[in-house]
């Protein structure tokens, strides 16, 4: 009996112009737990679940509502979740897949029966919208998706694999606040130097993904005991435009089988993959019975892939 996706819904705030592109941008006082709250009732309804059925609420984000406690605690409260466990995970772009791996383990070990997994980000409050910062600000959007997971007879998760290689953590990072800086981890000087914004070594980050994104797709497909031909749709994600398409080409996939998850709304980090899957289901592009492979590669580096039969 596999871990099944009983419900999935997403929420995107209203689009705004960011440089040359349109991106979903949250309004003031809205954090990722608020975005996820818009999606949660639909995901729970699809799953035929109540909040009181949940054993664990997980939140994957790199942009929590406040520094601590985590977004899962705020979300748990907004859901009126009583004293249900709330777990916050940081896995950057692979955060949703790592969340899926964790949830699958709790479920298959029989520790929990029903888990709500949210992936959500409010990037826009942490980006530099000056001319110098726009090339990076344009990459990102805000959004959230919520999945309800449980073991069930029938289709479900066929594989999930995650990897990290921290030896490259400075190639794609936000350096400050940094607890390593004495005497204070964030200073006015750090802010004036713009070190609270993401920085990316585009060439190196793209090169790493060019190698590892196709490889992890193959690994997840192998682990699911199927082949590339056995997959109906590939949802691929990378923060940099064009990288996902290049991975698809490298795998020899016809573009009709590929959803470039960042293309429509920009990079939503932990929310990118589940938002894209939720949109594909809502639009009818994917339907029950389809086998999907989702994969991403990003900061950390952290990367991964999952094969899911809907």
């Amino acid at each position: 009996m596999p871990t099944a996706l009983l419900g999935l819904a997403h929420y995107l705030p209203t689009d705004q112009q960011v440089g040359g592109v349109r991106r979903p941008i949250a309004t003031d006082a809205v954090g990722p737990s608020d975005l996820a709250l818009h999606a949660a009732p639909r995901a729970l309804a699809q799953a035929g679940s109540q909040v009181s059925d949940l054993d664990l609420v997980m939140f994957s984000t790199m942009t929590p509502d406040v520094t601590f406690p985590g977004a899962a605690c705020f979300f748990q409260h907004k859901l009126e979740g009583g004293t249900v466990a709330a777990l916050d995970v940081r896995g950057q772009c692979a955060g949703f897949l790592m969340g899926l791996m964790i949830a699958d383990s709790y479920l298959s070990a029989g520790i929990y029966r029903r888990i709500l997994l949210a992936g959500g980000e409010v990037h826009s409050s942490g980006l530099d919208y000056s001319a110098a910062g726009l090339p990076i600000a344009e990459l990102y959007g805000d959004g959230a998706a919520v999945a309800v997971l449980s073991m069930a007879d029938g289709p479900g998760l066929e594989s999930v694999v995650c990897h990290s290689d921290g030896r490259h953590h400075e190639r794609f990072w936000i350096e400050y606040p940094s607890s390593r800086q004495h005497p204070l981890r964030i200073t006015v000087e750090n802010l004036r130097a713009g070190l609270q914004y993401p920085r990316i070594d585009r060439e190196q980050v793209a090169a790493f993904a060019a190698e590892h994104l196709p490889a992890v797709v193959r690994e997840a497909v192998d682990k699911a005991a199927t082949t590339l031909d056995g997959i109906d749709a590939f949802i691929l994600s990378h923060a940099l435009p064009g990288v996902a398409a290049r991975a698809a080409a490298d795998l020899g996939l016809a573009s009709s089988r590929v959803i470039d998850a960042g293309a429509a709304h920009g990079h939503l980090t932990a929310a990118t993959l589940p938002v894209a899957l939720s949109e594909a289901l809502a639009s009818g592009r994917l339907a029950a019975g389809a086998r999907v492979c989702m994969a991403t590669c990003g900061a950390g580096y952290a990367w991964g892939a999952a094969v899911l039969k809907l």
Binding site: F68, C73, T83, S125, G126, C162, H169, Q181, R185
Partner: protein
Amino acid sequence: MRNARITGLGHYVPPLTVTNDDLTSRIDTTDDWIQQRTGIRERHYSEGRVGAADMGALAAREALERAGRRADEVDCIIFATLSPDYEMPSSACVLQDRLGIGGVPAFDVRNQCTGFLYSLATANAFIKSGRFERVLVVGGEVHSTGIDITTRGRDVAVIFGDGAAAALVEPTDDAQRGILTTHLHAEGKYAEKLWLECAASRSRPRLTEEMVAAEMPRVFPRMEGRYVFKHAVERCTQVVQEALDATGYTADDITLLVPHQANMRINQMVALGFSWPEDKVVNNIQRYGNTTAASIPLALYEAVEADRVHDGDLICLAGFGAGFTWGAILMRW
């Protein structure tokens, strides 16, 4: 189904010791006041550019050595912290760099004072489900760069210390041994009773000069101490009882309680509730202060070192903290 057990523990605290008297040069407080309220006599502060992952890596190396394992045998890394080395990526990735290993999944758990409990429960799920064979669980904190060490911030500043500890978790086929049950809870209703607001993604922008440099900066933790204290005693007691009920043991069966070290008075009240003698509870807050995610493994490490833990003992880990979050894990050593 196989069980998960801790096969090696390690620790690291930075060499700089800061006594209560040392703090009185920067804060209007006294050694007596701090000891009366919290039990703390001294804590350690990191120096230079030593971050949570740097300390975590030293703790991890010791845990691996004690388990007789090499770093490249680890197949998953979980890092619990609320004071990460960088805003992004995770300290788990930085730790991976410090250990010189690449490839295995590494992620952070951000669950404050119960970060180690949530992480160990997750490692237990990984082992029990058969997903991984050797999970490295690390708790590490550098608080000293994120607290307001002035009279303005004294209620919080005197409490926290820096440190790290690590546990290697591996399977055992002995169903009587290892982790027997895990219980985790949260109540986000009280998220702002003990919190660090900024950077806050819900503020636009999330970090400003005003947040950092105002009369009352918003980049330091704030706490409603009495409120937290009352809930901590109540919830810790409840969740230990929940773990006992789940396994059919009684309070008398427990050999040792290894609680989170937030305040010695909390742990004394919990012990009193179960009618436990003082030697049944591990307390080392006197020397380290509250090291959040590192406190439970650091206390467990010291209990093992002091020969207070023996094969077959029933050990209970429990904690309560920001979120609110709380939990208990019962294990047979």
